[in-house]
Each structure stands twice: as structure tokens, then as C-alpha cells.
Subunit: 371 residues, 4 copies
Amino acid sequence: MSSMYLSALKLSIFGQSHGPCVGAVLDGLPAGEAVDLDALHAFLRRRAPGQSELTSARKEEDLPQLLSGLSQGVTCGAPLAIVLPNADAQPGDYDSLRDAPRPGHADFTAHVKFKGFEDAAGGGHFSGRLTAALCAAGGICLQILARRGIAVGAHLLRVGEVADVPFDPVCLTRETLLAPGNSAFPALDGQAAECMRQTIRAAKQAQDSVGAEVECAALGVPAGLGDPLFDGMENRIARIAYAIPGVKGVEFGGGFALSRMRGSEANDPFLCQDGAVRTRTNRAGGILGGITTGMPLLYRAAVKPTPTIGHPQQSVCLRTGEPVTLCAHGRHDPCIALRAVPCFEAALALALLDAMLERCSTPLGGIVHEP
Amino acid sequence: MSSMYLSALKLSIFGQSHGPCVGAVLDGLPAGEAVDLDALHAFLRRRAPGQSELTSARKEEDLPQLLSGLSQGVTCGAPLAIVLPNADAQPGDYDSLRDAPRPGHADFTAHVKFKGFEDAAGGGHFSGRLTAALCAAGGICLQILARRGIAVGAHLLRVGEVADVPFDPVCLTRETLLAPGNSAFPALDGQAAECMRQTIRAAKQAQDSVGAEVECAALGVPAGLGDPLFDGMENRIARIAYAIPGVKGVEFGGGFALSRMRGSEANDPFLCQDGAVRTRTNRAGGILGGITTGMPLLYRAAVKPTPTIGHPQQSVCLRTGEPVTLCAHGRHDPCIALRAVPCFEAALALALLDAMLERCSTPLGGIVHEP
Amino acid sequence: MSSMYLSALKLSIFGQSHGPCVGAVLDGLPAGEAVDLDALHAFLRRRAPGQSELTSARKEEDLPQLLSGLSQGVTCGAPLAIVLPNADAQPGDYDSLRDAPRPGHADFTAHVKFKGFEDAAGGGHFSGRLTAALCAAGGICLQILARRGIAVGAHLLRVGEVADVPFDPVCLTRETLLAPGNSAFPALDGQAAECMRQTIRAAKQAQDSVGAEVECAALGVPAGLGDPLFDGMENRIARIAYAIPGVKGVEFGGGFALSRMRGSEANDPFLCQDGAVRTRTNRAGGILGGITTGMPLLYRAAVKPTPTIGHPQQSVCLRTGEPVTLCAHGRHDPCIALRAVPCFEAALALALLDAMLERCSTPLGGIVHEP
Amino acid sequence: MSSMYLSALKLSIFGQSHGPCVGAVLDGLPAGEAVDLDALHAFLRRRAPGQSELTSARKEEDLPQLLSGLSQGVTCGAPLAIVLPNADAQPGDYDSLRDAPRPGHADFTAHVKFKGFEDAAGGGHFSGRLTAALCAAGGICLQILARRGIAVGAHLLRVGEVADVPFDPVCLTRETLLAPGNSAFPALDGQAAECMRQTIRAAKQAQDSVGAEVECAALGVPAGLGDPLFDGMENRIARIAYAIPGVKGVEFGGGFALSRMRGSEANDPFLCQDGAVRTRTNRAGGILGGITTGMPLLYRAAVKPTPTIGHPQQSVCLRTGEPVTLCAHGRHDPCIALRAVPCFEAALALALLDAMLERCSTPLGGIVHEP
């Protein structure tokens, strides 16, 4: 198995939900990049639990500890190792689940794959807790991208049937892009935010959970990032986004809606604006042939409802095969997507910085002029 | 850049639309596997052009030539190299496009990335023609999987607004799964097929193209394949599926619909059937925590309309920045999804065989008992 | 840059000589493997400094801390993260070196590569200190291999001109193989050990250092591990061995001596013994065509003298270009090879377990018989 | 198994000794690089057989056929696929070997690994014939490096006990470096060349073969290429060099001799020359901490004698275990090292270009200034 994303940027994620910590090793960053730990902590707080009645009661400060990779406050070229302690682990909550897998969760498949040796507490390595490590790595990438004029943001596009206003694929501004991250609830429209809150509250009261859709975008992306075939931007982003537990669908630009259109509607006409080639519409979501066009990059992800719910559910005993009725007790979120919003920003930041680090023809040019 | 999918199975795809050939190197296959070249050719014929008025007029036999990897008709452990000659290349058709990129196509981004050195003829390495190589590699995987009781099939779930009946995520039979591949048009319902034909024909007559949605599934998949985080089955499949030109969305099981549900609806209850753990519903599409459950594996992909259309479109001259009106002349498909159907089977077969080859704990066990 | 060894087994090494710690993430281990932390600590003690007047005065207990990967004392399939705190860091010792690179050390090249942002203290990420992380990962592999009847050992074959008795490539016993690791000084012959001690002491007294050659071997290796071309056992072992600072040569079996022989001498005749195919001699060092033969696996590495010495040396100021005379003050080993001996065992253990995990044809066979 | 070298540059090698061809896919080259096919052919002729009584009688023109990757004579960013037909295959020569493995060859280990399904003819995928594909890929890298002022050359440093004059690690000139490649026999000293010829001829007359040592160097290498730990230049070069059949030892700079020195001898003093930092001696072979110093890069490889010899040898029947006496009949070289010389140049060129393509901090800088 591999919990690594390996490209020009190499990310290794480790930890279990109720082990001593979760963490990440990020290898391949350029040297000389400042890392603002306060800003990183603030970013991690956006996904940290225990902050409202809409999220899990688990209390995690998620203060990032850097074990390596910095010298005098900037990256020194060595791998960056970050650890986030698990302060509020309660493995005991899950003892009853060892034999009865939670429907919709990885308990059963982890049991089959790891032959009963898996760490069952809270999903172990399969827990959403691991996304804290993803955000720690992605948060550092966000800082490096920001210094290069690239902004990344995301919001809850829909919770259940309650929809927020979507990002404008052509005229999206930095203010709009970054607003949800700076507000108490990650939505653009205040009224939608309030309805989403109610939807989540209602699900929680019903011992249930609710799914949601997240929209994520980047501005200031240079044209020419990504590759044909297996390393296109869609491939890279999807590969990371599907590492976020509960994601069951990912689409770019017009996405599935494009499959209902004709070419004359779906194609984005080219035009020249201030000396740069742009497109009038942006149904491609800023990606053509796997490579960035320079237009805003947009993708959406479908996040299923939290599988762990208090509501009684049918399961089986893995030892005896007998039917079991489960009522989960562990602390959990009524809507994981709420806390997952920054995770999608992290995923996009990782994919973008990775693709920037791979623009391999440049250094060769550079080397010609070397003494 | 990398046109390689690298895991336990290593696939390298090469070629350009109007070069001498397209091809693939497939490394990591077990030794001793028979390769039925006639069956492979038959599979390739399903995506080959020039077979009806609904597809491109380009005539390609796509007879696979094996350059290496076989000894006495079975894999010998050496990499398999397959070449498909480009018999009907007409690079001249594209001379006019060198400076005016086709909207919705990779012409512009390839130009930026490769600094004007790209092969512009028919999209060069970005052409749908490259999927012939993907199918050649995937077709061999399909044969190896079939010998192990794993069947893979796909159909056009929707063309524009015309929908076929979906695969049943729980009761899908091999007959139903393989039917579309064996019929003249890849749909389950005859009437839907006829309407789809009309929709495609209408788009063609309007010098236009139309998008579609493809559904792909596998039966007989053992539980326990895949990994958490970056190498889950969703990650692997999406990474390959997005290598198929025109794919802008991929979803698994309930996909985006799950984001509208509550956990009590979305979770699949477990039950024990004939001594095996199964789920009553299959909204997970046979994947939990990135790992196969043993239930039918299902995914869907959104394919945008063919970007190349005769209908006049706005573009710009990349030299002067002047506006240009384009009316494409090159041969092209009014609905690329039609020929792409087997490509999604190939993508799933590659991802499945790859994951099977990675079940690395098994050999260690084996080695204990070695003399 | 990459500080990762990536194959079936994925190892990511992080840390700097005078940072808070060094560590490793080991991903891809099978689930259900017990990890004996006391045995691992004992193994790490073999390379730890501060244990005699022949090694650096730096005091490091190197007690391994496992951050993840275990559940109830056995591997749970999740990545294993290990940290070794730097208890006795003294970065101040190296302030004077920021501008004047030590001859023979990575100071200069690190400065060029990382543009002055490198962590210069004690070589930072280039320090031999990083081999503690390599040994932590390799030490766990050694335990897994031992359970499968594979023993790995190493000794100082030569220090300067003082030679130990070499391992017998055909009749090597486990007792002999493991003896150096269990004795106070890693050599087979007591008298050689004493002369080596004197040679190292003499170098130290002269404010100098001395090079050495290490021989490493494995017994019980099954035939059939490794691959042709780039992933042969020689390639894998050399790739890891050259990660040990100071290694400037690696040879297998007869090594360079084979280049002086004729084929009739160099080839190892085959014979059948107790139903197994073996070779009468073992000049191949247990590897043919990159794949193990089942005979003892042998390799040797040349370790240069510690570059950091008290003896005055010529350097230049990287700011002004002015000549500088250096007399190192930092604590260092008069013979790094002495403490590097277990590192070569770790390197071999990693390469062997990795190759065992890749015997990918086995699981496919297994899957045929699956329900 | 993997026959791929995967880094920034991705090389996939395929083919069998007596199959239709051998070939390579080279992915990751920058776009816009001219490829001189005549120069490439001339380079391949240096390792082609059938050119003198000192080499195998097999006649191969080795005219490279490019299947993809070029547009108007320059690289277009798409993968480069090269094929070299096997014109003079005679698989029949090896039928007798199916059951009796040649001592010193990969026959036995290939049989174990691939369970009897291996292509036994002439070693199949394990044949030295595969190095033609390595040279085709490396030859293209040599052209790209040459345009950037980097020259690579190699010579036979020793055949049996006959030694050539070594390259001067400090004062090596381009004329000297490239001379062996341009002369009929790859040695610097004419008299040495003549004695080497006699040594090879004598071995051949005795139905035997002889080993040799090859020295390879590069001039004009910029400082700062390579990485610490697993991707140092030594690691990269060794990983490729060990892919050349028969290589059993690789050393850099002073190599094994350094293990006999003291630090005060082994360290290369720094000095400033014409504004550049250089070293007075070059025992490091142009590599410190895995990273290039800018001094000449030097490495040497030990090549064992050709295992296939007419001289009778002991083997066993893999079916019955009975002893067998082998007298090889297939065409083979009395000294494989003679034709392998350009392979070591190809290996170094691949490793250097790969490391240059990975200098990932440069493009990020570049992107800051992007509109």
C-alpha cells in the first residue's frame, strides 16, 4: 500500500485516528521558502473539530510541529516533516466495532485487506483525521503559491439540497474566492449559510448525517501547467481529492453538465485580452488537454454523508456472520464536508505546486547560460 | 511530463495522431499469461474509427503488433511492447490550425507548454488516437482478469439528454454487463440506442457534436483491492480515466447523488450471504475507504462533446493575437464518447489488475513456506 | 530532490544533524508483523556515537519512538513513522563553516544546490546522522526477514591497510555472519580487530581520519528475487548503499577482481545439492542477471575517511573567494566506517524485503482460488 | 518487475535478444531539442556487433527507427519511442540451453523468477542486446548535453591485466575524453590498445572470455546536480550502470582506493580559479554529498568476462537435476566490455540529463516573473 503522493513534490502521510499523532513528510520543496507557522495553524483551525455544535466534539488544537526541513525559518532543501499530536484520542469508543463494521465506512475493507491486523479505533489510518496532515502539507504549498500570485479558495456549494451561489468561472475575484475561508461558515451567501447550518443541525438531531458538494478554485494560475494523459491537472487533482475520505465524485469546469451539451455550447471561444490569450466562457474549468489555460481553475467534489451515525444500522459480526444492529457512539461530524472544505484547497495547492515544480524545460534553458 | 501510469503495473504510452504509429509498453505483468491477439484485435475494433456514419471517416484497422514480451504465445516476464500503425494519417488537414487553436481542444495549452514545438497535427500526442494504445494495454489486462473470473463492461448511459437503463449496482449479471460490448451500439436498451443514434446524427448534420455519459462496471472483483489515501481504487481509476481525452467528471457508485443524501440512506447495510459479507444496497459502488468490498464496482464518466466541429468558432491567431473564425475540416467524431466506451473498460481493467498485483502481503507469506 | 527510496517498500527519510530529530516513514510493510522495539534499539546502539574513544563524542541514545503503524504491537498496514530525537545537538560548533566549506564534505555542493539556504550545521540533511533513520527502518526489515529465515550481517573487511578475514562466499555460516554484530568491535578476527583499533586511534591522534571497506552478506535468501535491468538486486542495493555518506564504491561477489579473470574462472559451475540448484563457487555473490540465485548474497563497500578532521586544510570563503585554512572543531569520528557497519546491513535488509514484496506473480495465483 | 528508469527522465526499455526488435521509450525530454539520427546511428555503431574478429559474429546494423516524439526534426514534448530491429536473430542456437542454464548467465535465475515461461533464446530480456536500446536513449541525451557544453566519454581502463592510461581527474581535456570513442579501439594508449587486442584474441582462441574495467567521465558538468541520500549522482549512475549486463562493481573518483587513505590525503582542497570554486585534486570524482562539484565527473565499472564460452562448463538439468557439461555454440563476444564502452557513456548521459531536468527550484523562480 502507499500513503504517498509521488511526483516532483513527494508527500508521505502517516498516523492513525487514535494513535499518538498524524503527520506528513513533504519532500521536493524549493529551498529558501519562508513558512509562516501561525498562518499554517490558522489554516489548520479551519478543519479542526470541536469548534461548534455542527462538528465533532473531539477537541484538537492541531498546532503543527515541524521536525525538519527549515533552517532560520525558511526551507533548507531537506524534507519537511510535520507532526500534529492527537490530543483527544479515545480509542476505547471503538472496541465494540472490532467485529461489526460500520456501514459506509472502511472498517470492513480495512479488515479484509489487513487480515484483522488493522487499527480499528476510529478508522485508524482511514480516518478523516488524516486530512489534518494533508492540510498541513497543503497549507505550506498555499503559502508558496500565494507569494507567486496564486490564490486558492473553496466553499460549500451545496449541503443536501441547500445551494450556495457558485464561483463565477470567468469573473471570479480574489475577494470572493477567499471570503468563505475567512468567514465563520464556508459559504458565499449568508442566507444559504444559515439554511445549511439548519440542515446540518437537523441531521444531527435525527442521529443522522448529511452529504454535501464542495467547489474549489484557483486564481493566478499560469498557463502551461500539467501534462497529457496520466499526469494532467485533472488526473493530479482527482488523485489527491479522492484521498479525502467520503469523496465519491470529482468534476472540472462544466463537469457532468458538459455531457449534456453540444460542442458549440461547451467549447470556450478564444479571445485576446491585454495581450494574453483568454477564453470568453470557461466551461473547461481552466484545463484543456490536462494543461492549465491560465483561466480560473475550478473543480467540484461530492462528499457523502458521514458514515458513522447514531441512527441504528444493519451490520454483521465478522466472526460469526450473525446480523448486528449498530448505533455508533464515537464522536463524529453530522456533515464531514463542512470541515473538509480546506482539505480541497490543500489538494489543489499540492497539485498546482507539484505541476509548477515539474516545468522541466526551464532549468535546462537556464543551464545553458551557466558559467 | 509523463505519459506513464506507474504502479505495480507500469504503462508507458507513446505516439502522435498523425505519426507512424501509437503504442504502449506494459511492464509488470506476471509471466505465463496467454495473450489472444484475435480477441485483442476484436476489442480494439470496438473503438476503431471508420465503421459507421456516426464516427470519424478515418480508417484504421488497429491490428496490434507485439514487439516484445511474449515467448511461445505467453507472457515471458519481459515488458510487453505493442504498436498500432497509423494507416490513415493526413497531417496536412491541420496545417491551418498551427496558429489558431481549436476552442475546447489542447492546441493552445500544448502550444504554451511545448513552446511552439508541439506536434499540432490532429492534436499530436493529445489526440483521442492515443486511446488505441490505452485499449491495447487494457485489453490484455481484460484477458488476464477474465481468466480469474473478473468481467468488465461499459455502456453509453446517456447521450445528450437520451438515457439508457443504468446497470443494477447489486444484481448486475455478466450477461447484462457484457451485452453492450457485443452489440452494434453500446447501449442496453434498444430504443434508447436508436434515440442516441438519432441524437448523434442530428449533431453531425448541424456541423456540431454532442457530449455523453459512460457507465462502467466490474463483476467478480475480490474484496480487499486498493489502498487508503492516494492509491485507493477511486484514485487509481480516476487517474487513468482522466487520461481519456474529453473526460471532465468521474463518479463512483452513488457519486454526486450521495451528496444530496443522508447517511441513513447513503450507507449500504451489511449482510451475510452464502458465507460472504455483502451489502444490501451498493451506493458505495463496490469501494469503501479506497478498497474493494467485493460488490460490483461501478463508475461513471462525463465525456464532453468533441471539440473539433465544422460549426464556425471564435479563436485567435497565436502570432498576431488577431481574432480568427475557425471551421474545422479534419475528420472527427460527432460524439467521441461512442468510441470511448471500451476505453473506460480498459481503464478499469488496468486499475484492477494493478491493484491485484500489489497485494504485497501474500508473497511474503508464500516465501515463508519456500524450501 | 528526493530523500525517498520508492519501490514496493517506500522509505522516506527526514531530519538534520542538529535539528530536533531524524526520522523515517516506512510504507508498504505487510500487516501483522511484530516489531521488537528492544531489539531495534539494540541494533541502533551499534551505530550510535559516544560509546568509545574510537567514535564521535556526541552522545545519542537513539531510542526509537514509533509515531504510527502499529496496533497491539504488530504492523497494522498503515505507514510506520519512527523518530529518533537529536539529544546532543550543538549547532553552534559549525557557525564558522557557513562560508568556508569543509574539503571532502557536502558543505559546498549543498550551498550551490540550495542557494545558501541549506542547513549548514553539521552537514544538516547530508550528515551521517541521517543513517540512524536508515538503520531504524532497516532494523525493522531485519526482524521481518529473520522470521523468514533470512540472516544479514556485516563486518569491517579492512581499515586502511589492516584486513579482516573475508566471509566465505559458499560456506558462510549464520554464526560467522552474525558474530561481528554481537562483538564489541565489528571484525571476525580478534587480532585484526586490535590492529584496526590501533589504526583508528593513530589517525585520531594525528588529527586525521582513515577509510575502510565493509563487507555485508545475507543467508537464506530465496532464489528469484530482483529484476533485470534497472531493478536488479545490484541496482537496488547500490542505490541504497550510496545513500550512506562516504561510500565511493560498491561491488558484488568477485566485484572488481572479476574484471581480471577469464570466464572459465569467473563463472560459477552449477550443481544439484539436496534437490536444490547451487553453485560450486560463488563469484556472482548470489546474484545473476540482477536476480538472486539462492547462494549467499555478498557485497562490499568502500567508505572514504571522515572528511571532517582537525588537521589544517585548504578551503575558500564562498563570499569573497579568499583562501581559508580550516581546522575542524565539531565532534566527529576518526573512522566513519566503524559505525556505518550496521547501516550496510540495513541497506541490504531494505533491498531484500523490498524485492520479496514485489514478487507480484504470487498474489495473482492466489486470487484465482479466492471465493 | 520493472525495466524502467523513472525520475524526471523516464526510460522504458523493452525487447528480447531474438525477438523482432529491442527498443526504448524516453519520456520527459524538453521540447525543441534537435535529434541527429546520423550521429545517433554512428554512436550505436560503436556497440554494434559483427564489426571485427574481437566481437560477436552477429550482424546488426542498429539503424534507429523513431516511432514518436519528433515533429519537424525536433522533440515535440511527446514521449520518444525508438526501435532497433533484430536483423540477425537465431533463436535456434539456444534450444539446447532450455534445460541446462549457462554458468554465470541469467538463464537459471530467469527460469526461477519467471517459472519456466522466460524467453530463453540468447538470454531473452536479460541479453546484452538490450543495451542497444539503452544506448539509443542515452545517445539522444548525449546530443542534448553536448549542446549545453557537457561532453561524455569512456575507454577501456583495463582488459584482464593490461592497463590503459587513466583519465586525469583534474586536467582531463575534451580531446582526450572523446578520443577513444573516435578511434578503432576504445583506449587512449596505442600500445595498450594493441596488448588488449591480443589479450581478447587469446581468450577467444582458448574458447574463453576475459573481463575488463571501463572508465567513464564527463566534462562541463555544472555544480549542484543531484541530491542527498537515495538520488545522489552516485546512486543514479550506479542504478543505471548496473543495468548493463556483467557489471559487478562501480566506483567513483578514488573509489576503493579511498578506503585505504587518510582524510588528509582523500579530501580535495578547495581553491578559487577564474572566479569559480574548484578543487586542487579530484578524489571525489566530481561528486560530494551526492551532488556535482563542477569538477570532472569520473566513475569506473568492473565488467565480468562474457559468461557464454565454448570452453566446457558444469551445469545441471533443471528437469532432472542431472549434471550436464555445456559447450556454448551461440555467437558471443570474447570480451563484452569492449562493446559496452559506449553503454557507460549512455548511462552517465541519462543520469546527468535526468539530474539537470530535476533542478526544480529554477522554474518556480521563473514563474514569479510570469505575466
